[in-house]
């Protein structure tokens, strides 16, 4: 029983079959390329499995206005991606963009969030996004089930969420229509450049290809130098709590609480710099659970079914890195921790750019050169 449609001669290899790799592969195939994806096995770090499924605009781009623009464009392009995936596979990824909230549990929290948004909108070259600052009463008009501790909220009409599991399944199912050669259990050990391109080697053998895209998440740091690229990351671990299915009570995503279209409630999330272990830290789960209940008291009796911890693909400033190698022009690196939000940008814009081999300014601004420029005062 054949799983892959093997290309004897792929035009490009995508290293990594998570959300980033899958979006790029699908997009590159739509550009007419013969694409091969080399993915790890069933048990691997697989950062994108631990996503929160948000399509989130509010607050993005502090210190990097181009990122605000990039994110807004992604949110606007999401309906197209959902529609194309539906035509390709029949799978509805459950896109819903009703607007999202950051709920605050004290006046101080609310003020801090308001201040941050003002800084975002006042920075040089700022790209604005619409938002509203709501008090408790106004928040309750949108979200009747909030608790008395909610002091207010920031609402952004551009925010939304998607069923990320179905998104992943749709992309992988769409590999068939794009004639993409997807190979699991093909972890890449080395990439050696040669005259015609690159030789990728692993325990499974080797493959030669003119172009390669590194979409291997955390493993990019190891692979990038092999092709003259740099993929600096900082450790970032996050925990998520997952509950049993509940009757629908929350359509809008909250940045730390959302109800999936299947009914389960996801509660996040933490930002921990201790990436040594993936062992759950219960003191963190406890804080997250406590805050979720204060936001929505009716969650108190819901059963917790799982807690997750996972490593994010976190660049030095939290914004994406897209770069073409100077020394080895057929090689690219792509990484971002907001793989769900930015999915359309990766599937359409970035895939187009990688296929063409020419990087326009709007994307080269996401290169790693920015890390070598001293920060402005």
């Amino acid at each position: 029983m054949a799983i892959s449609r093997k290309h004897a001669d792929p035009d490009i290899v995508v290293v990594g079959g998570g959300l980033m790799g899958a979006c790029l592969a699908w997009g590159l195939a739509r550009q007419g390329l013969r694409v091969c994806v080399l993915d790890e096995g069933d048990i691997a770090l697989r950062a994108s499995r631990a996503n929160f499924a948000l399509i989130w605009v509010q607050g993005k781009g502090l210190g990097f206005p181009a990122y605000t623009a990039w994110t807004k464009a992604a949110a606007a392009a999401w309906p197209q991606l959902a529609s194309d995936l539906k035509s390709d596979t029949g799978i509805d990824v459950g896109l819903d963009q009703p607007g999202g909230f950051t709920l605050c549990l004290s006046d101080r929290e609310l003020q801090a969030n308001v201040d941050a948004l003002q800084r975002l909108h006042n920075q040089p070259g700022a790209v604005a996004h619409p938002y509203e600052v709501l008090d408790h009463r106004q928040t309750k008009a949108f979200l009747p089930t909030i608790g008395p501790d909610v002091s207010g909220a920031i609402y952004c009409p551009l925010d939304g969420h998607v069923n990320s599991l179905r998104l992943f399944r749709a992309l992988h199912t769409a590999f068939k229509t794009g004639d993409i050669d997807y190979r699991a259990d093909h972890a890449v050990d080395t990439i050696e450049p040669y005259a015609g391109g690159f030789v990728l080697k692993g325990a499974w053998g080797e493959i030669r290809v003119p172009k390669v895209v590194l979409a291997a998440g955390i493993d990019n740091a190891r692979l990038a130098p092999m092709v003259g690229l740099d993929a600096p990351m900082k450790p970032s671990r996050g925990q998520i709590i997952v509950t049993e299915k509940a009757s629908p009570f929350l359509r809008h995503p909250i940045v730390t609480v959302r109800q999936t279209d299947e009914g389960g409630v996801m509660i996040g999330d933490s930002e921990e710099a201790d990436s040594a272990s993936l062992t759950i830290n219960h003191t963190i789960s406890s804080v997250m659970a406590d805050r979720a209940i204060r936001m929505f008291p009716l969650l108190a009796d819901l059963n917790v079914v799982r807690t997750w911890s996972a490593l994010r693909v976190m660049t030095l400033d939290g914004c994406p890195v897209y770069e073409k190698s100077q020394s080895h022009p057929g090689a690219f690196v792509a990484m971002a921790h907001s793989g769900v939000t930015l999915a359309p940008q990766h599937a359409y814009d970035l895939a187009h750019v990688i296929a063409a081999g020419v990087i326009p300014d709007e994307i080269s601004i996401f290169g790693t050169r920015r890390f070598h420029v001293p920060a402005c005062a």
Binding site: M1, I3, D39, G41, D42, I43, R49, W56, Q58, G59, L62, G63, R108, E109, A112, N113, D115, A116, L165, F168, R169, H172, F175, K176, A184, D185, I241, E244, V255, T256, E262, I267, D269, S270, E271, E272, T279, I280, N281, H282, T283, S285, S286, V287, A289, D290, R291, I293, L299, A300, D301, L302, N303, V304, V305, R306, T307, W308, G318, C319
Partner: protein
């Protein structure tokens, strides 16, 4: 009002100490024996169990059993009394009606490893209790038996019928059909008939070829204790009910609830109206706890199940976590009790309560007994090896994941779409993500993927489980201690808000 039994030993979650030397999880023969052994040697011991009274599944409700039960349920069951009573007088603390839901490392202020932290929950209260050593004695559960209609009300496991008989003295009314393979099948049929139930048929799904494969173990088996028991049982069965052999396919038909059992034997289809269908094709280790704790597991091709890797003292690949009894590999109740004692000795030595030589001396007769009681096991394992037709569903519409209602055909289709293992399968289909967390679909999903890919289950692997391995309410999680570091991790510094974190 509770019916927990335990006298002075019994504690509620609120009463428990903050720390123990040994926490044992599970009050079956292995757990009771391990807790008794280690407590007797001076360890401050706590035994946690989900049920109201000790005994696990095999000795379920043993301390409530009366003389009539001895007749109904047999001598083997009755043996459990002594193990339970000895435990209650051992000095160990006992927390019945308490769920253990996680095990994590406990570190001192400097971050040095000092033992484990066990998450427990009872009567709506959750706590984290520290311990130096853990013994998991979480036992086994019924191998999934996916046939069309197995999710209909009126279809249950053979074990379920035994449990309600032992705990509440309930006997099935109406026509009962018992189906599957394994020694428990005939034992249960005999117990139910003895109790006055109408067993309309016993459908034996053991494939003919098993006899040939088992034959090489026969000489050893004939010298074991199983023989006499087995032959007696079979004779009883043949006299008092209809035994159908070599059943190659089966389904339960509704609508709405089980009304008829349909089976194929000898190339012909047969139907029988029934009120209760009891399924059983052996038991497999309950790996959820050991898996989530990070213990290494191996695929046991003889028992067709994953089991944790343990050393001679039943310590797993995670230092300080041991697992004894059926949870380490199916060997039966007598073996479980002996393994519990050996695991207890291993614990005591690691805690320096006894020296290595003392441990070895005490262990030697236990090891001899263990060899003796497991004699003949290879024959039983080979003879009762469940047929592939009932492990890897033949009918593609059969529900494999009961919680998320995923069929065999959906699983196979996802393999070709790229889900090469059970964890990718979770993402593709949500299989294993429901409340039972793979307990009723894990083995089937692994074997289906293996079958579809043409590789061994060993290569495919199993679900990666996560804590809590049993649910607790969100409010309970919220009530656990919160540290300042945790608040920073969730909120960052308030002046440096959540937004910059989301970037």
């Amino acid at each position: 009002m509770t019916t927990t039994m335990g006298g002075e030993a019994a504690h509620t979650v609120k009463d428990l100490a903050d720390a123990y030397d040994v926490i044992v999880i599970g009050a079956g023969p292995a757990g009771l024996s391990a807790a008794t052994a280690v407590s007797t040697l001076g360890a401050r011991t706590l035994l946690i169990d989900e049920n109201q009274t000790p005994g696990g599944q095999i000795y379920r409700s043993i301390l409530l059993a009366q003389t009539a039960d001895r007749q109904r349920l047999g001598e083997d069951y009755w043996q459990g009394r002594e193990i339970a009573e000895t435990f209650l007088h051992s000095g160990a603390q006992y927390a019945p009606a308490t769920t253990a839901w996680s095990i994590g490392p406990a570190n001192d202020e400097g971050g040095g490893f000092i033992g484990h932290e066990v998450g427990v929950s009872g009567s709506g209260t959750a706590r984290l209790i520290r311990t130096r050593q853990v013994v998991l004695a979480t036992g086994a559960l019924e191998r999934p038996f996916p046939i069309p209609g197995w999710t209909l009300p009126g279809v249950m496991t053979a074990g379920a019928a035994q449990i309600v008989l032992k705990t509440s003295g309930l006997i099935p009314e109406g026509r009962v059909v018992i189906a599957g393979s394994g020694p428990l099948l005939y034992l249960l049929a005999a117990q139910l008939i003895e109790a006055g139930a109408t067993v309309a048929a016993v459908l034996d799904t053991m494939p003919r070829s098993n006899w040939l494969k088992a034959l090489r173990h026969l000489p050893v088996f004939l010298t074991s204790a199983y023989v006499a028991k087995g032959l007696r049982l079979l004779r009883t069965m043949q006299r008092r009910t209809k035994v159908v052999r070599w059943v190659s396919a089966m389904s339960a038909e509704g609508p709405g609830e089980m009304k008829e059992v349909v089976w194929t034997a000898g190339g012909q289809e047969h139907r029988l109206p029934a009120d209760l269908l009891l399924l059983h094709q052996g038991v497999v280790p309950n790996v959820n706890f050991s898996n989530a704790a990070g213990c290494r597991h191996v695929w046991d091709e003889t028992q067709l199940a994953f089991r944790p890797q343990v050393d001679e003292w039943y310590e797993t690949s995670v230092p300080g976590i041991a697992i004894a009894g059926d949870g380490a590999g199916i060997r039966g109740a007598e073996a479980a009790a002996l393994q519990g004692k050996l695991a207890g000795l291993g614990c005591a030595a690691r805690l320096a309560l006894i020296g290595g030589e003392d441990r070895d001396r005490r262990a030697s007769s236990l090891k001899v007994q263990l060899t003796k009681v497991t004699r003949g096991r290879e024959f039983l394992d080979a003879l009762y090896r469940p047929s592939k037709a009932f492990r890897v569903p033949q009918n593609p519409e059969t529900i494999v994941c009961r919680c998320e209602e995923i069929s065999a055909t959906q699983i196979r289709a996802s393999v070709s779409a790229g889900a090469i293992g059970p964890n990718q399968m979770k993402v593709f289909l949500r299989s294993g993500m429901g409340p039972c967390q793979g307990r009723l679909c894990g083995p089937t999903v692994t074997e289906l993927i293996a079958d579809e890919r043409g590789v061994s289950p060993d290569k495919v692997g199993y679900y990666r489980l996560r804590f809590p391995i049993k649910p607790l309410r969100l409010r309970e999680l919220a009530s656990l201690p919160q540290s300042d570091a945790a608040k920073v991790a969730v909120l960052a510094d308030l002046a440096d808000t959540h937004h910059s974190k989301v970037n």
